[in-house]
Symmetry: C2
Subunit: 274 residues, 2 copies
Amino acid sequence: MELWFSEYQTKNTKLSFRVKEVLYTKQSKFQNISVIETEDFGRVLALDDTVMLTTKDEFVYHEMISHVPLLTHGNASRVLVIGGGDGGTIREILKHPVKEAHLVEIDREVIETSKEYFPSVSCGLSDPRVKIFCEDGIEFVKKNKGYDIVIIDSTDPIGPAVGLFSEEFYKDVFLALNENGIMVAQTETPILFGDLIKRIYNDMSSVFHYTNLYSAVIPTYPGAFWTFTMGSKTINPISHETSVEPFFKTKYYNKKLHRSYFILPPFVKDIISE
Amino acid sequence: MELWFSEYQTKNTKLSFRVKEVLYTKQSKFQNISVIETEDFGRVLALDDTVMLTTKDEFVYHEMISHVPLLTHGNASRVLVIGGGDGGTIREILKHPVKEAHLVEIDREVIETSKEYFPSVSCGLSDPRVKIFCEDGIEFVKKNKGYDIVIIDSTDPIGPAVGLFSEEFYKDVFLALNENGIMVAQTETPILFGDLIKRIYNDMSSVFHYTNLYSAVIPTYPGAFWTFTMGSKTINPISHETSVEPFFKTKYYNKKLHRSYFILPPFVKDIISE
């Protein structure tokens, strides 16, 4: 049997993976969760038929959403991740000398699925520095404060994640952050969703003193040219030279490129400054 | 009717575009040439069902294969492009103060198709500085010399382009180059074809004093993380500060990132240094 898993990256573009085996598929309270073994990209975690990660390229996303803010800050002790139930972002955060890493994932079944099917991704979730909260991230940041870094490791801005892409939410995150706090959100691709990126940039700019985009190549995400938007209270990521050297091995993040990540191609600069 | 054009990026991964209209499809002496109007990526040129360019993202490839070598060199007068019958690379080269740009495209019908269906890409082909040769690039470089830059703007290393990915060919290109000459080839993605990239790197290294990879994100190419391999006779692209400023507008290339383009993520460095 010839079996393919296809993601509609948009209504008009599909990425399809030849399937070795469908390992798991279940409707949770919030979404469909599927685990698929593919030929080219290893094991795939899909939520509502959207690729969250593949074991082939997840290192790019997880390293870049974690190391860029943590090494920009240079002295993060308490870190909060909203979303990211697979554990990949937590795994990377734990490579830094943090004291506490909190994970707020609305769907407990994502965490359970990752623990069972993605041990190389979820491996940090049982670390004693990690505390997991299965609740709504929007409500959580209203009640919990004192973080150095907040990372929004969300799904796309449809369904349960819509509220994570709003000015109100960024205001609450601002208040949940310490004096030199930094937030980062995954913010989709300028190739296909320029309007969204501009809106997020404007919203975050109205809350934070410094707002900067950086990018990374994620082959299995729509458009592949992926952005992260960083809001910072006091540290300017462009001029600030962090004193902390990564003392761990990375596969995508390169310390020599730290400042370059924030230098955008003109077409992206045009989108946010229009 | 729901119409899709799918490229098998590998045997096991497909990228599919919803089709507005198939504008042209014809078997030339060398390959099938098709022009498709898509919903998300504008007009697509496909050779043997492989995407050569889309009007949405072609600027990345054409800027990066041209501006990086030309601005590294800083004083190029005669430039040769092998392949690239669509004219996109020539269009970018002509933004520099070159005296002559030669295009060697084996398939005249690619040029004709681009002239008819991709005026924004082929627009430079009628410039008086351009000379077009419809012949085999491998034979051409054996007989024609005196170039400052040679750009290998080829299809994938299957079919007619195989010979353009060989040490013998790089030796002939070396001899066709002037004293400070530089060659660049498009060299696929390390996400899926690490072995190929390593072989090309080794082959080019055995011919040129300096061999360096650089990369760019091309959403519609397999793996999206695309590499170019540059062989240079005397100019070290890492330490050399070119004095020439781009006096033209770009969409992807950013002069501030010129040196950063050559700094690779560790996973790519590992592939070529294994």
